[in-house]
């Protein structure tokens, strides 16, 4: 026989994770697909609003990739054409036209010199 004193309760469990938010929410570059939900102009506006003058948007004529947003410091260290060639070669293997890829790109310079001893 069912009791009239049935207890009905609703509970929720909260799980909280806190980590650092990157500003802007990207590292060194974003590769924007032609049909991606965020377009180059929106990406440029986001970067300009959050990190003014730190990023450059490069639009391109590519079947899947519409544009690449690059941290300016990278362009100061390495030639744009060379950098873009490498980025495109690697990105086009995995990107679809509806994706936006985030990437980290670090340049480490290794120098070895020989000098005459005095």
């Amino acid at each position: 026989m069912a009791s009239d004193n049935n207890v009905y309760s609703r509970k929720a469990t909260l799980s909280l994770k806190i980590s650092e938010f990157e500003v802007p929410p990207m590292q060194d570059l974003l590769i924007i697909g032609r049909k991606a939900p965020i377009g180059p102009e929106a990406v440029r506006r986001m970067a300009d609003a959050l990190s003014p003058e730190q990023f450059t948007l490069i639009k391109m004529n590519h079947p899947k990739i519409e544009a690449v947003l690059l941290r300016n410091t990278l362009l100061q260290m390495i030639d744009e054409k060379l950098l873009m060639k490498i980025i495109l070669e690697e990105a086009e293997r995995m990107i679809s036209d509806s994706m936006v890829l985030r990437s980290e790109l670090k340049i480490a310079l290794s120098v070895q010199r020989e000098v005459d001893l005095l």
């Binding site: 049909k35 991606a36 939900p37 965020i38 377009g39 180059p40 102009e41 929106a42 506006r45 509806s98």
Partner: protein
């Protein structure tokens, strides 16, 4: 006809930071096919139903719009708009009058208007087209050859074989002329009845070749058809640019009548 007579004057605007899905809703509510993208009173471009359909709905309008708006003045005529829109990507132009945006025009609207200037029998343009080309060349002081082509004995063909056959002859002869006038810088129209006008910027030697081909009897549907040609040579006529289009076309048509008369006299005397 000026484009201000056929343009769309209902201008709905949207800012570039709105989403593509919002733009679609706006178009739907306002029952329009395009929105002018404006930020702080400045026109940035247009977003059309085609743009909305091909872009992700989350994108902002700035990433879906036709960039670099193309402007035309309200005083441009439909032919100028037609040529300008064919050279532009996007097929849409904003219409300005004294720095004021007063409407927009699409390639489709212009093409529909232009289609009214096409002759349904031959598929060639009618007289207003060639008048536009000729007047434009005169305005730009660009010399050209003007040929007035009048079929010989067309009345007799109609009488002998009936008017439907005459229509077939016009249709076939038009395609013969079209295939002849396929050089860049050749503009052809069916002027009226059995008369055609050709504007060409080819060399003197080539135009003589054209004339000799046109005047030579051609077998059209088993009937030999030739034409009398009146020629005004804009490269050699000293006062060419001092004359109006009306004067030039009159001279060319009189030239073709004279050629016809001399042919008749020759055949009578012969």
């Amino acid at each position: 006809m000026n484009i201000s007579d056929i343009m769309t004057t209902t201008i709905c605007t949207i800012t570039s930071d709105k989403s593509v899905s919002y733009a679609a809703e706006r178009m739907n509510e306002s029952q329009v096919d395009s929105l002018v993208v404006m930020d702080h009173g400045e026109v940035l471009g247009m977003v059309t139903t085609r743009d909305v359909l091909s872009a992700h709905p989350n994108r902002i309008v700035a990433d879906a719009m036709s960039s670099q708006p193309f402007y035309l003045s309200a005083n441009h005529n439909v032919w100028e708009a037609y040529h300008a829109l064919h050279q532009e990507q996007g097929g849409l132009a904003l219409v300005m009058q004294e720095d004021q945006l007063i409407g927009f025009i699409t390639k489709e609207i212009v093409e529909m208007k232009i289609a009214e200037y096409r002759d349904p029998l031959s598929g060639l343009y009618r007289a207003p087209y060639i008048e536009f080309i000729g007047e434009n060349f005169l305005k730009e002081r660009k010399p050209f050859h003007l040929l007035f082509i009048d079929l010989n004995d067309f009345g007799r063909i109609n009488k002998l074989h009936g008017h439907p056959f005459g229509d077939d002859v016009i249709r076939t002869y038009s395609s013969v002329l079209s295939s002849l006038a396929e050089e860049q810088g050749d503009y052809l129209c069916r002027y009226a009845g059995d008369e055609f006008v050709l504007i060409s910027t080819i060399s003197d030697e080539q135009i003589q070749e054209y004339i000799s081909l046109i005047t030579r009897p051609t077998n059209v549907l088993d009937v030999f058809v030739s034409a009398a040609v009146g020629h005004v040579n804009g490269y050699q006529t000293p006062d060419f640019f001092a004359r109006s289009w009306r004067e030039l076309i009159a001279e060319a048509s009189l030239g073709s009548s004279a050629a016809k008369l001399s042919k008749t006299l020759t055949s009578t005397m012969g």
